[in-house]
Symmetry: C2
Amino acid sequence: MTADEADGRSPRERMVFSAAQLMRRGGVGATGMRDVVAHARAPRGSLQHYFPGGKEQLVNEAVGWAGRYAAGRVARFVAGMAEPTPSGLFAAMVGQWTDELEAVGAASGCPVAAAVVDCADASESTRTAAAAAFAAWTGPVARALTDMNVPAARAEALATLMISTVEGALLMARAEGDVRALATVARELGPLLDGAVGAVGAVDGG
Amino acid sequence: MTADEADGRSPRERMVFSAAQLMRRGGVGATGMRDVVAHARAPRGSLQHYFPGGKEQLVNEAVGWAGRYAAGRVARFVAGMAEPTPSGLFAAMVGQWTDELEAVGAASGCPVAAAVVDCADASESTRTAAAAAFAAWTGPVARALTDMNVPAARAEALATLMISTVEGALLMARAEGDVRALATVARELGPLLDGAVGAVGAVDGG
DNA sequence: CGCCGTCTATGACAGCCGTCATAGTAGCGG
DNA sequence: CCGCTACTATGACGGCTGTCATAGACGGCG
């Protein structure tokens, strides 16, 4: 999610990328269209050309991009792990945000979360886009879990738990200006996740 | 957090309450000062009288109120449970939002989360207020856990995990317009929490 | 050349925002 | 009655917002 990801792409893609980038910081409300074109170094006139649906369309596409991005990250995590475990995957997910928070100084949140907080009940389409983004994110996680011998019935539920926990911990970490919450949930939730490998019941594993 | 909590209180308190109420729906950016006084049925002129610090002060106080409110809820949960268990407390915390989402139709989020998303990097004081709110919320939860024989060393960490998970699941639930995520995390995380009772290590607790 | 679709440029618009200045009322002690 | 404090009322201000209207540039193509 660094700046070099914006190079070489079309102006249109850069605008979507920049929108997501800015939404992460100040929320949707504080992200103006003029800010987006400036950040993307794109011509202002292109806004109404590429996004005739206005800000709502731009936000929705930014949310969709974020969902695909998160899904891709999960895929790369799994591919890069020699001995994949649920706790390892979770630690990697947490680690991504830990790195960003320590690098930029807590300025970065999740654009999907921003869209939910700011638009969930004002824009039905954005709410749907956010749900789709979460689904796009949950899918690869659940698939990775089943590949690690987690029963299919629990994989999806655990994926939801992992993403919920990461989102919430990211919120707390931003508030505290410290990665403590992220580190804590990684440490506490990891063992539970590993306990689900090969188990059929809840935690009392067969 | 229903409307009757606003009755009998001073106009000033009603404004703080209304600010929190409105922030939960549309975020801080979409919450105008004029909307707040209208919702609180308070005189507009009182704004600059009670909140000379402007919107920032009002938001900060709303966040503080939300933190104290959440802490009070936890205390009441614990007091009302015949046989208190960590999973029972967590289920109660989740249940509060489940009820609200099903009642109002997913319109309600957490005002503290809204403040973090919208103001975390724009207003240092709001960021601090949000951190304080989370701390005020974490405290009673951790204390309740120690009262349930959870080792003191883990109680605080588990409280952070619980709150993170609830916040994140609430985010997902709002996006999906469904309480599924909340129900899922309650079901999946509950057993782990109970497993920490009397344990000293991680999950293998004897 | 002329035409056309894609893209860009720019200024204007109405509307809302938070804030401030100013004035006014109500109650109360003297 | 005055004076003082607490609170309310109201209109205005500059600034920013998303959106739109209009016009211009560029490049392929017949």
